[in-house]
């Protein structure tokens, strides 16, 4: 079966600084992959490359067997199929929650305004934010904003979700409500790539955990394997540091 997403020897550098140095990974339909690694290891860059927000220098990225990283390819149709949620929520501050969620289905998918709004209201209700639909983003808590950001992506009915440290800007007591949404997505079979510092969550939700170090994937294995029996020395060191910091 063709993998949902295939990264083949992906390279990316900013100027002379090489950030991704040959990333290869296969992601099956409905698989959840968690990328962990220290700050600056290239997690965000990797996800941004998959969303075509950054163009890669070498290698290729396939979605359902189709090369989406070919130079000159129009990125917009691809991005409609791949949702992305960012660390800093980047909701549109001049629009209400409802407008944030219904804008892209209306403008990009060509749904009627009414259709996109009623669909958006359903999504907003599903994420427990019905009473906030007509408020503006800056009137919401961080957790609520992040749930709106997820709803905004889901409104496009994406086949894949990229979640870049979506809880790291949140107060600890707000993390749970956002992670609940991700659990729900998994149970519905969403293919997801997530960058995270929440080891406990990676352990619980990921089918595979991948350790990224200086732009390379050092190892990728099931959470049980990864957290109890890491093979690579760097991974052991990283996990030890995390354990000492009390985050595992």
């Amino acid at each position: 079966m063709t993998p949902k997403i295939l990264l083949d020897d992906v390279h990316k550098s900013f100027g002379t600084r090489s950030v991704l140095k040959g990333i290869s990974i296969e992601v099956a339909q409905s698989e959840v992959i968690a990328f962990i690694g220290s700050s600056g290891s290239g997690k965000s860059t990797l996800l941004r490359c998959v969303n075509l927000l950054e163009s890669i220098d070498d290698g290729a990225i396939f979605l359902d067997g189709v090369d989406i990283s070919a130079p000159g390819l129009n990125p917009d149709p691809v991005r409609q199929r791949i949702g992305m949620v960012f660390q800093s929520f980047n909701l549109f501050p001049h629009m209400t929650v409802l407008q944030n969620v219904s804008l892209a289905p209306h403008k990009v998918l060509g749904q009627s305004k009414k259709e996109s709004e009623s669909h958006a209201r359903e999504l907003i209700a599903r994420l427990g934010l019905s009473d906030r639909a007509d408020g503006y983003p800056d009137q919401l808590s961080g957790g609520q904003q992040q749930r709106v950001a997820i709803a905004r992506s889901l409104a496009m009915n994406p086949e894949v979700m990229l979640l870049d440290e979506i809880t790291s800007a949140l107060d600890p007591e707000l993390v749970g409500e956002v992670l609940d949404v991700v659990r729900e997505l998994k149970s519905n079979g969403m293919t997801m790539l997530l960058a995270t510092h929440e080891m406990g969550f990676a352990k619980e939700i990921a089918d595979r955990v991948c350790f990224l170090h200086e732009g390379q994937i050092l190892e990728c294995s099931s959470p049980a394997e990864f957290f109890t029996n890491p093979t690579h020395q760097r991974t052991q060191q990283f996990l030890q540091r995390v354990t000492e910091a009390g985050r595992l």
Partner: protein, 296 residues
């Protein structure tokens, strides 16, 4: 599918009982402080004004200045005509302003396009703003106002109103485009990333996400430019139209007295002072909104 997550964010009950509470120590202190500052400001202003009023008439030339600049009867006589002429200024302002806004925005957008196909557009916009920002408005008015009618075109096309207005539009659209451009560039890159990741195209992102936010941000500096425009309309008098400054000049010659200029200045102030106060108010509101409360 996701379980309903209720939000226990009960709107605070604090705000209700705060009105009934007696003034806090800080509030009492601040009120007294405020009253004292007000008294001091009032007293010092009165002292300065009083001094000026007492001293200026002592100067040797005062009676002459008073007669030729602050001449009550002449002011009474010329003021109505000045007011009527000022209507012309307002008309010119009113048809220039929308043209300036549209042209300024188009130029700002042109300077933002990254497509190589549209590079000539970008180059043109950059050259345009460089040129018209670099020439004093008055020169633009003179060059266009005397130059273009010299082409000898027929009736409506040789009007100084037309070409004076065109000169103002050219000059001010270059200023305004810079304001818009700064506004567009001030929108954080993450807004663009958020929009593009949803599949919005470059132009959809510009139109629905970037420009609406940029406009909100630049309203105060824009209004500043329009207060200046209001005043610079008077420069058109140099190429012929009888607007307020021209009318004042005519009256000056007629009465051999400068009072009509003072009258014109008063009319401008009646309009521009409220305008600038309003802009200041908008600006300080924006500052408060973006930078939190003032620090002592």
């Amino acid at each position: 599918m996701v379980p309903e997550m209720s939000d226990h964010s009960g709107t605070s009950s604090l705000s209700q009982d705060s009105t009934q509470r007696p003034l806090s120590r800080r509030q009492v202190f601040e009120r007294r402080q405020k009253r004292r500052s007000l008294l001091i400001a009032l007293a010092s202003s009165l002292a300065v004004i009083g001094l000026l009023v007492a001293l200026i008439p002592q100067t040797p030339g005062w009676y002459k200045v008073k007669r030729s600049f602050f001449n009550g009867p002449i002011l009474d006589e010329t003021f109505p005509a000045l007011l009527r002429a000022f209507v012309k200024d307002i008309q010119i302002f009113l048809w220039c302003a929308p043209c300036i806004l549209v042209l300024g925005m188009l130029l700002a957008i042109c300077r933002n396009v990254r497509s190589p196909l549209l590079f000539p557009l970008r180059l043109f916009a950059a050259a345009y703003t460089d040129i018209f920002r670099g020439i004093p408005v008055i020169l633009t008015i003179l060059l266009i106002g005397f130059g273009v009618p010299g082409l000898g075109m027929d009736r409506p096309w040789n009007s100084p109103y037309l070409w004076g207005s065109v000169a103002l539009i050219l000059a001010y659209s270059s200023y305004v485009s810079e304001v818009f451009r700064a506004g567009i560039e001030s929108i954080h890159e993450s807004q663009r990333a958020g929009a593009r990741s949803l599949g919005l195209s470059t132009s959809q992102t510009l139109r629905h996400i970037i420009i609406p936010q940029a406009i909100r941000r630049v309203i105060p500096p824009l209004m500043n430019d329009f207060v200046s425009l209001q005043k610079d309309v008077a420069l058109i008098s140099l190429i012929g139209p009888i607007e307020i400054l021209r009318q004042a000049g005519i009256d000056k010659s007629k009465y051999a007295n400068f009072t009509p200029y003072v009258g014109a200045a008063i009319i401008f102030l009646l309009l521009t002072i409220p305008e600038t106060r309003f802009v200041d108010h908008l600006m300080s509101r924006e500052r408060r909104r973006t930078s939190g409360t003032a620090v002592r």
